[in-house]
């Protein structure tokens, strides 16, 4: 029984960075910007967060450093795709490649360094419930914050005026522009906020989840988070649930190995990536469904008439 509780706890922890990054990307995409630079932003944030935690010992500073690094890179990405109207696919890819190289370069002196295991936050009373306690209520605070973030995002997107404007820009930047909204600045804001969230996710990986630094630490989670937004048909609740699903698949390989299943570790390590492909194919199968849910201007640049 205890193993199951630990597996659930590990699933939540491993799904959390995907959820945070996925919600950041959702915010980008709701404003009409496709951010293929997520992997690079998470990597740069991961090393920034790790360096901050390693030198100052403060997790708060680590997450702030991660958010700042992710936001900064996102601002550069945003300036390119929103003002210079560069191709969003190519630019995002460039940012990812740059982020990989830059994080490896900055992180050279941190390779192989380890941080102390982060202590979990035990929810008073609830943590003492047998089974449920260790499974759900002994987690790093960021795990609970990710759930809070989902509610905040739902409120913002569907209950606030600013969220309405953001969604309008994602659906039809021309109409929003005609109504007098500053399409470019609002998009830039969304891109920076999304990048900062990717940054928090990256810092969570290097400071809490790993907790160490190696080159390429993020290992494709930025791309999985991108797949999550499609998988969730651009809805915050489904992003969170999808993230836990992928977290579960990641943990499954360790659980199977622990249970002594005779499958090579390399084949098991393929699982999260194969799962992403399968799920993406199943969800995208119906083009009409994707078209209805996808922000209409996603990936297209906007030129305001002069």
């Amino acid at each position: 029984m205890n193993e199951i509780a630990l597996l659930i706890a590990a699933t939540l922890a491993s799904g959390t960075p995907l959820a945070i990054a996925g919600m950041g990307l959702l915010l980008n995409e709701k404003a009409g910007v496709l951010n293929l630079g997520a992997e690079g932003m998470m990597l740069v944030a991961a090393i920034a967060g790790f360096a901050a935690a390693f030198t100052t010992g403060s997790d708060t500073l680590a997450f702030l450093a991660g958010a700042a690094a992710g936001g900064l890179l996102a601002a550069a990405f945003g300036a390119l795709v929103i003002w210079l109207n560069t191709n969003q696919y190519a630019t995002g890819l460039a940012v990812s490649l740059f982020g990989y190289g830059f994080s490896a370069f900055v992180g050279v002196e941190f390779v192989g360094k380890k941080l102390a295991e982060r202590s979990a936050f035990e929810v008073p009373l609830l943590a003492d419930i047998p089974l449920l306690g260790p499974a759900l209520f002994k987690q790093h605070p960021m795990v609970y914050l990710a759930i809070g973030l989902m509610f905040a995002l739902i409120w913002f997107l569907y209950r606030s005026r600013a969220g309405l404007v953001l969604r309008a820009i994602g659906e039809s930047p021309e109409s929003a522009h005609a109504l007098g909204y500053k399409v470019r600045w609002i998009r830039l804001g969304a891109v920076i906020a999304g990048g900062a969230l990717c940054g928090v996710a990256g810092a969570f990986l290097s400071v809490v989840y790993a907790p160490l630094w190696v080159e390429g630490l993020v290992a494709g989670r930025g791309w999985i988070a991108l797949a999550l937004t499609t998988f969730a048909t651009w809805r915050p609740v489904r992003v969170l649930l999808g993230a836990y699903l992928f977290g579960g698949v990641t943990m499954l390989q360790f659980a199977l190995q622990g249970a002594g299943v005779d499958v090579s570790s390399q084949l098991l390590a393929m699982l999260p990536y194969l799962a992403t492909i399968v799920v993406l194919a199943l969800i995208s199968r119906n083009p009409a469904w994707i078209r209805i849910n996808m922000p209409a201007s996603l990936g297209k640049s906007f030129h305001p008439g002069t």
């Binding site: 390119l80 940012v95 490649l97 991108l226 090579s264 083009p287």
Partner: protein
């Protein structure tokens, strides 16, 4: 106030100048970075842009490394021109190395010694088919399931890397290899012949040049190549003309997968002569940069391939001679592509100085 003003026509001159401007800007930032690292910037730049061309041996190494980059980038250029975003060339390269290397390994372990004229083409054919098969997964999922080729092709890179590991740590491991994760050295009959004695430059370089010529013919002289590009530039026009989007997708994916696979087989049977977990050093991703810096044009790709190869070798030299971290190459590569995309704005726009108090006419 600086304003961007749309040009009536895209500037051809800027299209050619933009990579040079981006390269110059990268060099300036690189010089600043060397200063920050406490190294002489001129010496640092020399290591990256001059030293790799110093002497025949170095030049042959640059061309050796440029070979897979050029071959992969040629295929990617077809994809990007037809608006198919295959970013998983790395995975197709790995599968090509596995399939081509697998043929060589099978011949070796079974003690079959074929004449080079037969063995080498067999190995390369294996590579092409391996790369195509891997690309076909992405193509099927895009074609039949509408799944984003960007994400699928990229996810398959991670799967391919694990597949390489699975084989070289398992079934394909050399029994006499002191338990190192690597295959046997292939039999000499399967090695690509070298072009110049005393260097590692092999026939693959000529194959790459032939591929450049063929690709030029395909893109600019063949109807199918034209159809693909119409599909990329104006999907609606292509539909109206009755060009099948599905055929374009498959053509682009098969060409790029096959070429990436070919590059993988040429590396396996060329300089490496065995398969190890480190059979790729991110060449499939570097090739994306080669493709864009080369303006998606076969000839441009040759120059860009040599340039990026110089940067890769410069990175190794910088590590051994100046004690610079090898990761610096990755920074410069990424920077080059980001700056290039920014400079490309000048193809469609020009910068105008406009005083804000003047009302627009």
């Amino acid at each position: 106030m600086l304003m961007l003003e749309a040009r009536p026509q895209p500037s051809k001159a800027m299209s050619a100048a933009s990579p040079l401007i981006a390269l110059a800007l990268t060099a300036v930032i690189a010089a600043l970075l060397f200063l920050a690292l406490g190294k002489d910037p001129m010496k640092g730049l020399g290591i990256f842009f001059v030293e790799p061309l110093n002497g025949l041996r170095q030049v042959s190494e640059v061309l050796l490394k440029a070979t897979p980059l050029i071959v992969i980038a040629l295929g990617l250029a077809v994809c990007y021109r037809s608006n198919v975003w295959n970013i998983g060339a790395e995975g197709q390269y790995l599968l090509g190395a596995l399939a081509g290397g697998g043929v060589a390994l099978w011949l070796t372990t079974h003690g079959i010694v074929l004449p080079k004229m037969i063995a080498v083409p067999l190995v390369l054919l294996g590579g092409v088919l391996g790369g195509m098969a891997w690309a076909a997964i992405t193509a099927v999922l895009r074609d039949k399931f509408n799944a984003s080729e960007i994400l699928v092709s990229l996810m398959l890179v991670y799967v391919a890397q694990q597949l390489v590991n699975y084989l070289v740590f398992g079934a394909w491991k050399d029994p006499q290899g002191f338990n190192f994760p690597q295959t046997k050295t292939f039999d000499a009959s399967t090695w690509l012949p070298t072009l110049l004695t005393g260097t590692r430059l092999h026939v693959g370089f000529l194959v790459a040049l032939a591929a450049v010529a063929l690709m030029w013919v395909f893109m600019f002289r063949m109807f199918r190549g034209f159809q693909l590009q119409v599909g990329g530039l104006a999907p609606a026009a292509a539909r109206y003309a009755g060009y099948s989007a599905s055929t374009s997708l498959w053509t682009a994916m098969m060409i790029s997968g096959g070429l990436a696979g070919l590059a993988g087989a040429m590396e396996a049977a060329g300089p490496l002569r065995q398969i190890t977990p480190h059979i790729s050093t991110g060449l499939g991703f570097t090739a994306i940069i080669v493709c864009f810096v080369g303006r998606l044009h076969p000839l441009g790709i040759v120059f860009a391939g040599v340039l990026l190869s110089m940067m890769l070798i410069g990175g190794e030299l910088g590590q051994s001679r100046l004690g610079l971290p090898n990761a610096l190459t990755g920074v410069f590569q990424g920077l080059l592509l980001v700056l290039l995309l920014a400079c490309d704005t000048l193809i469609h726009y020009r910068i105008r100085l406009r005083r804000s108090h003047l009302a627009p006419l």
